[in-house]
Assembly symmetry: C2
Homo-oligomer: 210 residues x 2
DNA sequence: TAGATTGTTAATCGATTAACAATC
DNA sequence: TAGATTGTTAATCGATTAACAATC
């Protein structure tokens, strides 16, 4: 889509939200200018890496001065695509799904426009104006609405099938909370939040400290 | 603690839960033996990398044969420390905290033994036998009980303070869901689940496909 | 024994760090 | 102008891949 951007490595991309967070804090603290050296102190990354990372996207700084906090914050947001709006649907309204939908309420730019589940106990429930629908309606909903992101908060047994339906429905990206590695054809982007993987990694490091 | 293990790179460690997941599936499917080549096909990683990764911890395979699924599954679990038990407390019982606590119900080995919050509306609530306590009681609870893991599901403003209290209380690891990078002294391990970072990364890739 | 597949060493690739000339 | 700090090139470091001898 954005054909002008060269292929930047995932390691760099995954640091961008962290830069953005730090810059937002600086801005909140009333600091308007920052050097890579200071940003290094705050983030724990090296100044060199910060300059390298940012220069993948453009020369946002100024020699002898550093970076303008507000400007760089906006630039990083723009690179991530946070100046755009995304229509989002959620599939699976169990505890995790409910937590995620609540989480999204405060996320501007990410508009939750439908929730699907298969449990009769949940269908009809409402969350700030959004009714929980039966998953059978998903296909027709996708046909009638332009949806950008599908969130999978279902169990691992149904995740793959849901992903395929989302993909066929023309979705651009999937935020997957099910503990499986989903495979979809086409150019659908998948971002996994594997809670168990994270917890197990923590267990490892608890047993292998120092 | 486990002084015999040499320092294995984080990239390797973070692939272990994935290996374990694949092995569990194979086991469930009744497959008892697997080659690195087949495992490569399943995981999407190279056979070479799989063999390299595993050999950080020992020679679990057999030339001409491959790996025994059940045995390797157990070995990987052991490396991660999943043959041990962990006492866990949860701080913050909002939507995310409730989702995480529910998630933990099905995780054997991770025993949720206390929940803390500051909201009067939540204190006293009960979750399968565990009462929600006031956060003021946390310090004394940590003094009286041996707790291994503290989960932070509070807002970003209080996360750092909570982390320090957990650290002083002798905790070994922190599973942090707050959108901040926590700093603690000593040998406390921190594992972050930064949902926003994940969502923003997804947004980037949606706008930069192919 | 012959075939298969590991464990491991060596080669390659990519990411991070260091250095410094450009420039505000 | 002098000082500071970027943008960028070169050096280093680490992780992945390839290759193959060891061995079941």
């Amino acid at each position: 889509m954005n054909s002008k951007s060269k292929n930047v490595s995932p390691s760099v991309i995954r640091r961008l939200p962290k830069y953005r967070r730090s810059l937002l804090e600086l801005q909140t603290a009333g600091i308007s200018r920052i050097s890579s050296r200071e940003l290094s102190r705050i983030t724990g990354l090296t100044a060199s890496q910060i300059r390298q990372d940012l220069n993948n996207f453009g020369g946002f700084g100024q020699q002898g001065y550093g970076y303008n906090v507000a400007e760089l914050f906006a630039e990083v947001g723009g690179i991530l695509g946070l100046d755009k709006e995304y229509n989002v649907i959620l599939v699976g309204f169990g505890n995790l799904g409910q937590a995620v939908s609540n989480y999204l309420q405060n996320k501007i730019g990410f508009n939750l426009c439908a929730i699907f589940d298969i449990s009769q106990g949940l269908i009809g429930k409402e969350l700030s104006g959004i009714k929980v629908r039966h998953a059978d309606e998903m296909k027709s909903f996708l046909a009638e609405n332009q949806v950008d992101i599908g969130i999978i908060a279902a169990d691992k047994g149904s995740a793959q099938k849901i992903a395929e339906a989302l993909s066929e429905g023309g979705i651009k990206g999937i935020w997957n909370f099910a503990p499986v590695d989903i495979i979809v054809s086409g150019d659908v982007v998948i971002e996994n939040v594997h809670l168990s993987d994270s917890l197990y990694t923590l267990a490892y490091y608890i047993n292998n400290r120092e």
